[in-house]
């Protein structure tokens, strides 16, 4: 078996043989990423309408469906409508704390079968499997959004407590709810935020960050674009005018 020491030693031996390399540098990283992330948010705040408009345009270009509602309380009505049109009934939703509000009662009142996620982790593999099987049965997945990237029409979603990875993956219809606080303009800004999320003093989160740019798609058969191959076949981004967290 090759050990780390052997492996790195071989690399160093080969590296010593290189000659005439051109000077090259990696990308300069933000010195204080959390402060820079805050600065970006402040700078973006006044022009959020333009950013939102660009996001909408790009999101629709990649096949997403954009909605806009006044307040979080309007979301259950919208979700119920989407479910009815698609003859769907089962909704799996992030935990209320992760979503920003408890919408389960309102969804249930509209005739939906709601599976809200527990806040914390489950005891063992068997419990996890059981939960996942139920998520897999749901037709709609309701999540929040950590970043909405205007340049590419991308939703960035982090896993963590109360926000399992498969909510935005296994159901056929993904509904993501967001407000102006998560809007960013560019991938460059996303880079700063990612640095901030990984800074030593950043709050803990789950192990996976997913960039979602439209519905799951493939063109593997005769280059014919087909939606919903493994992930959702529809992605709905619901912009809430009022700040979700007040």
């Amino acid at each position: 078996m090759t050990t780390q020491a052997d492996f790195l030693a071989r690399i160093r031996t080969e590296m010593r043989k290189t000659r005439g390399l051109f000077a090259a540098a990696t990308a300069p990283r933000p010195a204080a990423p959390r402060a820079e992330a805050e600065a970006i948010r402040r700078e973006l705040a006044p022009r959020w309408p333009e950013t939102l408009e660009r996001f909408r345009r790009e999101f629709e270009r990649v096949g997403g469906v954009f909605h806009r509602v006044a307040a979080l309380g309007d979301v259950p009505h919208l979700v119920a409508g989407l479910a009815r049109e698609r003859e769907a009934r089962r909704v799996v939703a992030w935990h209320a704390a992760a979503l920003g509000a408890d919408l389960a009662a309102a969804l249930t009142a509209r005739g939906l079968d709601v599976l809200a996620m527990p806040a914390g982790e489950l005891g063992d593999e068997a419990e996890r499997r059981a939960l996942r099987a139920r998520i897999a049965e749901a037709e709609l997945g309701l999540t929040g959004v950590d970043l909405a990237v205007a340049e590419t029409g991308t939703l960035v979603v982090r896993s963590g407590a109360g926000r399992p990875r498969s909510t935005s993956l296994l159901p056929s219809y993904h509904v993501a709810v967001f407000d102006r606080s998560v809007l960013v303009e560019s991938l460059r800004q996303v880079g700063v935020l990612l640095e901030a999320w990984h800074a030593p003093d950043a709050p803990p989160a789950g192990a996976v960050t997913s960039f979602i740019t439209g519905p799951s798609r493939t063109a593997d058969i005769e280059l014919t674009l087909t939606r919903g191959v493994h992930g959702p076949k529809e992605v709905h981004a619901v912009f809430v005018n009022a700040d979700i967290r007040g």
């Binding site: 078996m1 090759t2 050990t3 780390q4 052997d6 492996f7 790195l8 071989r10 690399i11 080969e14 590296m15 043989k17 290189t18 390399l21 090259a24 540098a25 990696t26 990308a27 990283r29 996620m117 527990p118 914390g120 982790e121 593999e125 939960l131 897999a136 340049e151 896993s159 963590g160 407590a161 990875r165 498969s166 993956l169 991938l187 996303v190 880079g191 700063v192 990984h198 803990p204 989160a205 789950g206 192990a207 996976v208 960050t209 997913s210 960039f211 979602i212 740019t213 439209g214 519905p215 799951s216 493939t218 593997d220 058969i221 005769e222 280059l223 919903g228 191959v229 493994h230 992930g231």
Partner: protein, 473 residues
């Protein structure tokens, strides 16, 4: 590709591909479409060129400190509770994965598209060890059912028609489906959903790995990369050492150009950043995370002539624009990695003798350099390989004699002029109306499909000499 097929000379494999009329049509449509999509994507992206330069510089900077970046990557992964393994050879890499599978008691392994796992022939090894590997990228799934290999880095099944896929599903899945991409995709979704939910082991490659944070980055359009890293109990990622990038800031630069180059998308649908196993508080995700760092000829090229090929992002853009690839497709190359970059990677993995023929499978037109997001100078390295083949006397003897003669002729003007006169005599039986047809031997390779102009009755230099005499009069 089996050993038997590799025994067929490249020219014959290429010829066979060219007689496959469906393949020809599919290739024409696919490569033309990809070229157009890429061109449009960069046309409305003015910063694209500068980002490509930066990405290239980052790759170079990364290679100059590869040891440090890998050490940091390993430390980050271990800090998160993951394990790092080191594989010098394909055998070693296979043994590592099989050992993980055995400890996990895995019966089924779901895989998201990974060229590194193709390169080490992992599926065959898993099967032999009683673990069923299931490819989950739709294209890979199709070719796995058909017992074939990918013909394109990012569109592995472009050589198949929907009719062929429907027949394949009927035979292998016992499902009768219309030859309609939508219907076929839904069948694959249902079949694979089952596999995802019951697999014990998830195997992926890595488009990038961020040293600073220990994050493995997977780029897919279908979502299978997310499935494979979320659902099974154990996740193994296999990556070539050159895939490491220093930081998240660097990563974003690559993401901005990768999908644009590959499919013309601004981003692929899913970019998944996986940082070790399931965290405290998470409801799902694997218990175990393993990262296999693969050498397989790469480290030996750090100071070698193919070093620049280590910049490759595996976007496939060079395949689409390559006039040779567009004629013959991926299978004719006969190795894991097709197309112009594939020739270099094959030489890296298997040594220059493995590309004795392939090194010449390029007109050196340079379209690949223009298309490459990190501007890898593929023609320059092909020239280097050809030179090495000559210097190590690996070129066929007939060719070496021919070029030896040519060299003499071109270095001696008198001999050159004599050759022109002899050529004029010899061409007579084949020449008509200023064109030559039906030449024998190697020259027949030209005249089979094209006329050859005759050696002029008077060369330019003869006419020039006459003109000068007139001028003086």
């Amino acid at each position: 590709m089996s050993e038997g097929e590799l025994a067929t000379p490249f020219r014959e494999r290429a010829g066979r591909a060219m007689r496959d009329t469906f393949l020809q049509e599919a290739l024409g449509i696919a490569t033309t479409k990809f070229i157009g999509l890429r061109r449009e994507a960069f046309a409305d992206f003015p910063e694209g060129d500068a980002l490509r330069d930066r990405a290239r510089a980052i790759k170079e900077a990364m290679l100059q400190r590869l040891d440090e970046h890998l050490e940091r990557l390993a430390a980050s992964v271990e800090r998160l509770g993951g394990r790092v393994h080191y594989a010098t050879t394909p055998e070693e890499a296979r043994a590592i994965v099989l050992d993980i599978a055995r400890r996990a008691g895995a019966r089924t392994a779901v895989k998201s598209k990974s060229m590194a796992s193709e390169e080490i022939l992992l599926n065959e090894a898993l099967e032999a060890a009683g673990v069923t590997p299931v490819e989950t990228d739709l294209g890979e799934y199709i070719i796995q059912l058909a017992h074939e290999r990918p013909s394109h880095i990012i569109a592995p099944a472009i050589h198949k028609t929907k009719g062929q896929v429907a027949e394949l599903f009927a035979r292998e899945l016992k499902r009768r489906v219309a030859a309609d991409p939508e219907a076929l995709t839904q069948v694959a979704r249902a079949e694979l959903r089952e596999k995802f939910l019951k697999a014990d082991l998830g195997i992926t490659g890595a488009n990038f790995a961020v040293a600073e944070t220990g994050t493995v980055v997977l780029v897919t359009n279908e979502g299978n990369g997310r499935m494979v890293t979320s659902l099974p109990r154990v996740h193994v990622a296999i990556m070539g050492v050159e895939k490491v990038v220093p930081s998240m800031t660097d990563l974003m630069i690559f993401l901005a150009i990768l999908a644009r180059s590959a499919t013309g998308q601004k981003l692929s649908v899913y970019t998944t950043l996986v940082q070790g196993p399931r965290r405290a508080g998470e409801l799902e995700g694997p218990d175990e995370f393993h990262l296999v760092l693969l050498d397989n000829g790469r480290i030996g090229e750090l100071a070698g002539p193919l070093r620049e090929a280590l910049y490759c992002l595996r976007c496939g853009a060079c395949l689409n624009v390559c006039p040779v690839y567009r004629q013959i497709g991926g299978h004719a190359y006969g190795h894991t990695y097709p197309g112009p970059i594939g020739i270099l990677l094959t030489a890296m993995l298997s040594g220059p003798a493995a590309v004795r023929d392939l090194a010449h499978a390029s007109s050196l037109c340079g379209a690949c350099v223009d298309a490459c997001p990190v501007r890898i100078d593929i023609p320059r390295m092909l020239l280097g390989l050809r030179r090495e083949l000559d210097e190590r006397r690996l070129a066929p003897w007939g060719e070496r004699i021919a070029f030896g003669l040519l060299a003499r002729l071109l270095a001696r003007p008198r001999l050159y002029r004599l050759a022109a006169r002899v050529g004029r005599l010899l061409q007579r039986p084949f020449a008509r109306d200023g064109a030559v047809r039906g030449l024998p031997l190697a020259l027949g390779n030209w005249t089979q499909r094209r006329d050859l102009p005759v050696i002029a009755p008077r060369t330019f230099q003869e006419r020039w000499a006459a003109l000068r005499r007139e001028d003086r009069r």
